[in-house]
């Protein structure tokens, strides 16, 4: 390897390590935030255990991403086959639902309980949506204290939907950061055949969205104006701030008041 090539390689590797460091720095706090929000929401909904399940592949399978409660450690990374149980239904249908007596069910939950030694009595499950896509499911299991438990109320279902909105953004950010981290790690470790299809699909999807293109166009336009001089930058800032104020004042408009 020539000196130039070695320098080039060293520079690329340095950048890669930096990228992995940034991705690591992003994933850890995001994972902690997801867990913290799960804890806060579970307390608010008076539930003892809660978990976030995310879509795993294209066939509708789910995987436990985060969990709090008695058997949290055993649940993490456990897979749920497509269409199985309430979580599978919520993922594919987009409809939230609650079951107040899962106990005797001889289906998926009995299998998970067998594996974890837990006793699932009741479930509240609601979809996690990001940009209209269902990316996972938020579940609350059982009440705090001892059974018999009171069923989840409609008000608690509404609260769960609001927490699901906040969690979905965090989960999406976490997954994006994790993808960069994993990609970087694989490139650094080298040797293995790297499967970048998922990354490519994600990037293509991102770039092909009209919203992303419009944002990029806007960013290019602002940079173009800003490069023309101080007066242009000042005017651009004033215009953008005025637009910001206007949109803030009108942000309460809702779709059909729904």
């Amino acid at each position: 390897m020539s000196d130039d090539a070695r320098d080039d390689f060293t520079e690329k590797l340095r950048r890669l390590v930096e990228t992995v460091d940034v991705a690591n720095a992003l994933t850890e706090p995001l994972a902690r935030s997801i867990e913290n929000l799960l804890m806060i929401s579970a307390r608010e909904i008076n539930s003892s255990d809660a978990s976030v399940l995310i879509r795993d592949g294209d066939d509708g399978d789910l995987r436990f991403l985060s969990a709090i409660g008695e058997v949290a450690d055993q649940l993490r990374n456990l897979k749920v086959p497509a269409g199985k149980g309430i979580a599978g239904f919520v993922l594919s249908s987009g409809q939230p639902m609650a079951v107040s007596d899962v106990g005797e069910e001889k289906t998926f939950y009995a299998e998970v309980d067998k594996e974890t030694g837990y006793s699932t009595q009741m479930i509240l499950a609601t979809p996690l949506r990001h940009n209209g896509e269902i990316i996972g499911v938020l579940e609350y299991i059982n009440r705090r204290g001892q059974p018999p438990f009171e069923a989840f109320t409609p008000e608690e279902m509404d609260k769960a939907a609001i927490f699901a909105d906040a969690l979905a953004s965090l989960v999406n950010a976490y997954e994006a950061a994790k993808m960069f981290r994993d990609l970087g790690n694989r490139m650094i470790s080298g040797g293995e055949e790297m499967d970048v299809t998922a990354v490519r699909e994600w990037l293509t999807d991102l770039r092909s969205s009209a919203e992303h293109r419009e944002m990029m166009d806007l960013a290019v336009l602002v940079r173009e104006i800003a490069s023309r001089g101080e007066a242009e930058r000042s005017m651009c800032r004033e215009v953008l701030e005025a637009v910001m104020k206007f949109t803030e004042a009108h942000s309460e408009t809702q779709f059909l008041n729904y």
């Binding site: 149980g85 594919s92 079951v99």
Partner: protein
């Protein structure tokens, strides 16, 4: 007596259509009324549903196209069985048709759901229970088109709201279908009408005890379970008045709900 049935009366300017409905529907059983359940399938061996499901079909992807094939009645998620159980309790003689669009193998991405609705309209099922929804904007226009086709074909589509911050389709299309959200009423026939709201109908959907795969029953909460209550009631009305159109059915529901509300 609130009476709504198709007939004509004179108003000085000649014969005009008039709607009168007697209470005969309250003793009806939904006989000969077809009710499609577009969902996760139905466990046809459940004791509450034995002999009530006339046919089960399942969506399958074939060369990137969704096709429907007859299948043994099964439900891996339980939701379809729960909805069918509610319909069968209200309208025990209704002919239930299971259209499975949710399940493993990449189904449930919205396309199968739309294909299921199209299939149900083509088959001409009188009532279509849709305890599902999507928030994907790309499905707004095709669903709107399908709902209009259902309306013109005389199919009455009953859809569950999703109770989430984002609007879900088709439940927010208030003109061409009947959308339902849940109340905690424990009386199966106690439904309400909220004219002026996007989701117009309310029906019991909190701790509803209904069929669940494996021959058992579960207490379930969700708008999904309010929706089949209204689908069942529509089957009762249609048994007595099969000639009613979707907008007449909505008028009938409005009139009955007003009575229900006065009784409270």
């Amino acid at each position: 007596m609130t009476t709504i049935s198709s007939k004509t009366s004179t108003n000085g300017a000649g014969l005009v259509p008039c709607l009168e409905l007697d209470d005969g529907w309250r003793t009806a059983t939904g006989r000969a009324v077809s009710v499609a359940v577009i969902d996760s399938g139905i466990d046809t061996t459940h004791p509450d549903l034995l002999g009530k499901v006339k046919q089960s079909v399942e969506a399958r992807l074939e060369n990137k196209k969704v096709v429907f094939e007859p299948t043994e009645g099964e439900d891996s998620a339980g939701h379809g069985t729960a909805c069918a159980g509610i319909i069968a309790r209200i309208a025990p003689d209704a002919e239930i048709y299971s259209i499975k669009v949710l399940g493993p193998g990449g189904l449930g991405d919205g396309h199968a759901f739309l294909a299921g609705l199209e299939y149900a309209i083509k088959r001409g099922f009188r009532v279509i229970n849709l305890s599902l929804g999507t928030t994907k904007p790309q499905f707004f226009a095709p669903l709107h088109d399908l709902l209009d086709r259902a309306y013109l074909a005389g199919c009455i589509v009953v859809s569950a709201a999703n109770n989430l911050p984002q609007p879900s389709f088709p439940s927010v299309f208030s003109s061409s279908l009947i959308s339902v959200s849940k109340t905690d009423s424990t009386e199966p026939m106690d439904f309400g009408f909220r004219f002026g709201e996007v989701i117009e109908l309310t029906a019991p959907g909190v701790n509803v005890r209904t069929a669940w795969p494996g021959g058992v029953r579960r207490n379930l909460t969700g708008n999904s379970f309010a929706c089949p209550h209204v689908a069942g009631i529509i089957a009762l009305i249609l048994e007595k008045h099969p000639e009613l159109t979707p907008f007449q059915i909505k008028s009938a529901l409005f009139a009955i709900a007003s009575q229900n509300q006065q009784r409270r």
